[in-house]
Symmetry: D3
Subunit: 312 residues, 6 copies
């Protein structure tokens, strides 16, 4: 909620200037280089198409299905594959009840040092990129993206957006979402916009005293190495970053888990059983069979329903 | 929201195995022994009947009345009796507006060490107890119980329940509640179940790397020594554990406190007095008398109302 | 929710006695003296009238306008004036969606030491002030005040009020509000009263083991030096303390900022522009002109509307 | 280790200017007033002479004896007198093995706000005080003083001194010492100067963004209200602030405690007793008598020794 | 450094009384029962003799050898056996350069509640145990013991010993040591006694507001379940609790590790190799052979040396 | 102090395998690419020669002079140049009295995810690099280097070295030093090696569950962007990273600061002046002149001495 031109003037004067490196789309102007070819190489296991910028494109239909996922649904598959570092928590959550799902669009900032920054600015200018702001990254967002930003936990001047740019991101990503290991501002304004957001803190200051060092490069959020194009899934607990090659497996397993939950609670609601007679799996062979039949029936229903929906 | 059988297989393979000691109801199979006789001895001041497992049974009618209690109502009586260590806070609260009241059913876990655990398992098996899980304790819950668990603040693998077992506990205790110095999982699922819960953290991992060391033994939650059968009272602030012998006194005093609050606010609402003319107690003898009459009148009403209700 | 007379007896017995210094309105009985003349001197830049106690009186109409302010609206003006220490956060907020605005009524407590306290009590008595409680300060509150209390972050026995006195403050200040670098009690009761409150913690104990050392003296809340009569503005993030001489500038600038936000979002909603084409300020001269016209038109509307409202 | 004139220029330019209020010795120029008369009134229980500035003057001979005190020696007397808020810890200690003893010379800073600061500067100038720095306070230190500073835990720009001023304080106080709820700089330099110091943090920045608000006023350090002239005693654990009226009692009790420790360890060294046969006090009447005789003998020796020393 | 009888009187008066449960050596007077038979059962894998109290007795010769162990030496064996919960750190260390080795003598305290405590006291009295203090446990210490105490991280009144009892423990255990998840007092005095100690904090208050609930029962220190008789090994980092059955394996492996370190550094000192040519193991077959020969030679030397020493 | 081959086997088995990316010296095999050309470009302001790997080479003579620097000496110049993000603290310091100076050799790790790691390993293998360990980086260290490692604050399995590799680094860098935003192991062993080290924590586990993502790339340590070749200066407080272009200015300014300190203390030692008469700069024109003459004389002496030394 602030006139940026005015802000920038102040900041320039006081030396915590907001000076950001530009991403030269066709070249290598950012400090932390990661070319489209490298992105393709390092995400070679991606089973889907790719976005024009090279990121894996988890299909829209799977994104839709993923809105039902909880962190536990993802955990059960990823730990089984040996991926134990894909979960981050400890965030403030803007709309706790609202699921966040989308493709990771990653951005990295580092603490400002002007010798490095000046050279990056020259390199950018040489490629015809004249304005240097965090909006360079934001302007590249696509429908279905979740903006994922490493601002190294910075609170003061670590505010990736206020309500105006948050509004823009909501428009550009079609409600995708935001994860920032840093802060936001304008919490009053943000809370009126119906897009999910996960952040470490809130502060009234604008972003500053940092330099943009990478767009769609591998970044670290908490204990996770996030790759551009990862499927980001946020619930009331935290955020999972799912490598594209496991998205289908996670969703399929989730169907089973949800049916199992459904059946388990149905049985518990009958109040005839001790918990251990039903859960994790029924001890009585009859109950076991009952469950297996229920599982197959419900799986069939779910799949038919989904197919019907997709045909429309 | 996870198939436990599957989970357990994984865990067994990776060594953070979920291996739990069983409570041998008729014997001494748990590490931390506390027999029914000991329980009876150490809660000798209990003025009420006992549950079959030996715990004091605060009557249902008093539990119902206790739903009106706040932490402050309990504090005023317990500090007066010299009990300054019965309150724990710092929890995440699942449903902040919903009061939690019930009889403490205590469970203790300790960090896993397999030499101790193996022997406990043998001892359990010798008594015919074959399955070793946290569900052993959960299956023993009674209507009116609050499950109180010492998981020593553990977050990762310190998750006493997910939504399935939480659903079961709700059924079994008739909405009693959960206090865990540890974590829970499936927060999305939990938030849809209308039972109070107090926990330190949330994590997507299942319980593991711990051993069950006691059921209905004295345990420590924060700075409180909790005894089985204590009346557990949770509000928006934290949780009080009331020794059964003080439950009646707390409830009776609360009647007075509530009437005093009622009268105080009524007088304040008249906007004719400074706060100190009315509160803590009126300085003007006329007001003092007015209050005393109000107190007696309202106490009479409340008691008649309560008696009427109980007769139905 | 507690009978204070009873409490006081207990406390006296156990030595964490609630013994408070009195403010002698016409004299110098408090430890931390700050006379009406000093208050006037140190707030000499105040452009408004003063309250009888000497505090600057930001006009009611400006208080009303200030309900629209966010922390960011204040930041943009105060940092421009070189005031970087007027914001405090890290509070628990009672009603996050409800703005808090009012004139700072400041109170300071320090840790009890009875040698100092006894002398202060004698001094007070010599001036005819017989009762020594925190209510002395509370009884002086005026409509439009926000009670701002330095209890040095104390949780246990650092509870400035429970629900009875919170109710009184709401009456006395006409819903002004409370900021305490300390705690409150009776959270259940507080949450039913529709007045804003910012506090560090909640505890069931009453205030104690402290002494009142100043009323309407300069105090410190977090990294802010708060002066009596500052305009207190609280939103979902934290609390700003605005020196009276900048209130008008903040409000006028906020009008512009809000119009700018309005226009920016309107343009973003058209989905025709990249964020950097519109925000901070439009790059295209036509858009720039469009914005300038919009700004003037809306400013005019707002001012007319406001004038109309004030005439009624 | 920095040229302050240079520093000041920088700071002035960047707005975190080091601008400090002066103490007008004969008047009321500081924000937080506390006149010599008030100081005398509030320390009326002082049994000793006073320093010219009005502070109680604990005699040099008692300061010398107090070098043997530990925090425990002080605790035993002060808790007995009902003073439970006189101890602060959590400090970094410059020379852990070196005791700190001296008379509290208190200084208070608050976060800078220039409206208040400007008026204070004018008031000071009107009294002929032209330079406004923290050195104003430091220049007033006397032999036997310990400088006690409230910098509200500030690390960045909360550095009360570097090695030059620390050297000066050592000269001026004859090795008295420093307690700061804030930071110091030049730790390399400080560690070469043989004066005790207790601080919260170390930072390379100079003091700034604060204003001096009081000299020899009551201040708060942690949970202690420190009065000017309190006897400051620091050991390996933390710092005690002893009201002058209890200094003699503390020292006399300490003689007994030290003899008791001496005797207890002597008996333990004989390896003939269980700890409970000797400590806290001997159970066997013969041992009890032995101890009583030892105590009287040693007390006599100590007193004669002390008297002899004082005669020299 | 305090007369306990005096202290106890005060404490009794103020209600944070030091009231401790007694261990009835021949019976079941403590809250947390764990009989000699149970201790024997749960430490059945112990390959050594036992102490009269039932604890495994790791031989003196192995304790002597264990003084060379570092945490890393223990880690390599215990993780290999699947024991990942035997290490605790985060302690303040009294003498960082001095190794601590001994047999765990465990003690457990819980927060005081007088209903439970009174009954325990009666039970103790019925068995002829009249004095109820922490010294009951301390008086049972044997040469070679390390006192390991669960005081649940308590600082205030969580001080297991001061310098007198620390002196006694040093005598009784022949310099064994102390680990307390709680605090100590008299740090000045402690630092003059040459026994290792690991504690969470230091405070001038004596122990109080707790009850002794177990001696030589399984206890939790951080994330470790400590069994009586575990070999306690402390170095500059933290403390390992080694189950007796792995002591020999740890020590034998440590011989190899130490020789490997010796050889590695010798080769590095020659400055002819890159680190990866030598460490973890040499890539060059000749170097590999050289190492193997060195290992065998040194192992032989060490064993002969050790045998010679033991024959003396 | 551990056989790494053994360790690696264990780790592979349990899935927290130590699998590291290799730096392909001639190519682009690391995730975070930063070619020699880029390094040269981004450090274009370097006034010195370069090392073969492209890093600026601050001359040995200046490194030698820099051993006298304190953090404050660096601060005064860098803040003046507008560099406020070059200082990191909060480390455990191995040898607090020993200065650390050298050229930054930077290494970056990120949390392991095996899809990315596998591809990096293939890329490395394609370039003939077969062994993948942290030793790849360590083996590239040169005399005068300080190893600076981003391990994102990781404690468990975040141990960059134990005593064997620490010994190697000491050899290879000629005592340069280590800064790690992570942990070390073998603290007993490390403390016997006379090389400076700054780390966040100590843990007995070896490095694992991470992947090496860059060597001599820009990295972040706390709030500092560290460039390869920065001059690293560590004292008792923390660590400064000085861009090469400011090294000469820092050293020259430090001469003046040290002379100023010398003179200031000399004057203070005379005990004739108040601190403000001498420090920051003398008020009396005669003293000012005296200081100026002293400064010139001492600067001359220092320069002659230095020249003489260099001629030898």
């Amino acid at each position: 909620m602030i006139l940026r031109s005015r802000v920038r003037m102040f900041l320039a004067a006081v030396s915590s200037a907001l000076t950001l490196l530009i991403l030269a789309p066709a070249g290598r102007a950012q400090l932390n280089n990661f070319s489209k070819q490298e992105l393709t190489d390092y995400t070679a296991k991606n089973p889907f198409e790719r976005l024009p910028d090279g990121r894996p494109k988890v299909p829209d239909a799977l994104i839709e299905r993923a809105r039902e996922l909880s962190s536990e649904d993802v955990w059960v598959v990823l730990q089984d594959k040996g991926y134990n570092n894909q979960y981050a928590d400890g965030f403030q959550i803007l709309h706790p009840g609202k699921p966040m799902v989308g493709r990771a669009f990653t951005v990295q900032f580092m603490p400002l040092r002007s010798d490095v920054n000046d050279i990056a600015a020259e390199k950018a200018k040489a490629r015809g990129v004249s304005r240097l702001t965090n909006q360079t990254a934001i302007d590249m967002l696509q429908p279905g993206d979740v903006l994922v930003v490493d601002l190294f936990g910075k609170k003061l001047n670590g505010t990736i957006v206020g309500d105006n740019l948050f509004f823009y991101i909501n428009q550009a990503t079609h409600g995708g979402g935001l994860v920032v290991d840093g802060s936001v501002r304008d919490l009053n304004g943000l809370s009126e916009i119906d897009m999910p957001a996960y952040f470490r803190a809130v502060d009234p200051t604008p972003i500053g005293n940092v330099m943009l060092t990478g767009i769609n490069v591998p970044i670290r959020i908490g204990d996770v190495t996030v790759m551009p194009g990862d499927l980001v899934v946020g619930d009331r607990e935290g955020v999972y970053f799912i490598p594209p090659q496991y998205v289908q497996a996670v969703l399929d397993k989730a169907d089973e888990v949800h049916i199992h939950d459904e059946w388990t609670k149905k049985k518990f609601a009958e109040a005839k059983y001790k918990s251990s007679e039903i859960y994790g799996s029924p001890s009585d062979p009859n109950l076991k069979r009952e469950y297996e039949e229920y599982l197959q029936k419900r799986l069939g229903e779910i799949r038919r329903e989904r197919a019907a929906k997709e045909q429309k």
